[in-house]
Symmetry: C2
Subunit: 167 residues, 2 copies
């Protein structure tokens, strides 16, 4: 953003929300870069999810954002089955760490690109999981709110993933 | 908010941010209610912070928000020393679990009250840790952004605190 550009209040608020999303995605990327595949495959705490499962979970949740925001379909719908609808110990065959890292990167790159194309006005429309009736009563349940919510979801799991970094 | 009230764009943004803060504080309160003092005093993972330390840390960080938002001073400045500036193993004498729970509740109740009194326009002014010069270039570094940032910080540690809940 140029210092000379006058932006609207809406645009400023969108920038605040998206820049916080980008910040957490950046933290996740730094953390992934710091961990070996072996470390990432370790439980974050005894009896808890591994880093790999949480990576798949976060990527699948990001992949679900396209539909919520009305900007497309999932890149890989089977990931939701593996990493959102079922727990780590489901016994279902899972992709390799390398595949999951690629999936995470692809989803987030496309999400960033598509989010940047959403018109300011559109961000304040209801997201697809809220009925028109509910939205009339609760206008804060808009598309931008999905990003705020998902940013907190990412932060929550980042707090767990950081336990994979040896002290 | 009444369904018949027409609110401004600014008020809507503020509501989105504060309602997400309230949501995470509510999750923290539910989690605290679920844990015994003994469970809360356990490390969240081997060699990591205990629940009690994280409770003190979160309360002290909330207490720091008054100054950032320009709505007052810390209720208890020594808590920052114990739970932000120094790690758990500092050897410094710490308050009891009951005292920390009270501190957490007092800080958040006062914060909610004071935040509700901030005028919509004021939320988009710079927070006290940004210079006027930087703020002119980066207008998203406003007071509301502090709340977005602190909400993510709370989510991050909630992800760790949830490991205290026995499976």
């Amino acid at each position: 953003m140029s210092t000379n550009t006058i932006i609207s209040e809406k645009e400023l608020f969108i920038k605040m929300v998206i820049s916080n999303w980008d910040l957490q995605v950046g933290r996740m990327n730094s953390l992934i870069a710091k961990l070996s595949d072996e470390e990432l495959s370790t439980p974050t705490a005894p009896g808890r999810n591994t880093g790999v499962y949480l990576l798949g979970h976060l990527a699948a949740v990001s992949d679900g954002m396209f539909a919520f925001l009305g900007i497309g379909e999932k890149l890989n719908p089977k990931m939701e089955e593996l990493f959102v609808r079922n727990p780590e110990g489901s016994g279902m065959e899972k992709p390799s760490v390398a595949e999951l890292k690629d999936y995470w990167n692809e989803v987030n790159a496309l999400l960033s690109e598509k989010m940047s194309q959403i018109a300011p006005e559109e961000w304040f429309n209801r997201h697809t999981a809220v009925s028109e009736e509910d939205f009339a009563k609760e206008p804060h349940r808009n598309k931008l709110n999905i990003v705020i919510n998902r940013t907190n979801h990412l932060s929550y799991h980042l707090g767990q993933l950081v336990y994979l970094v040896k002290k």
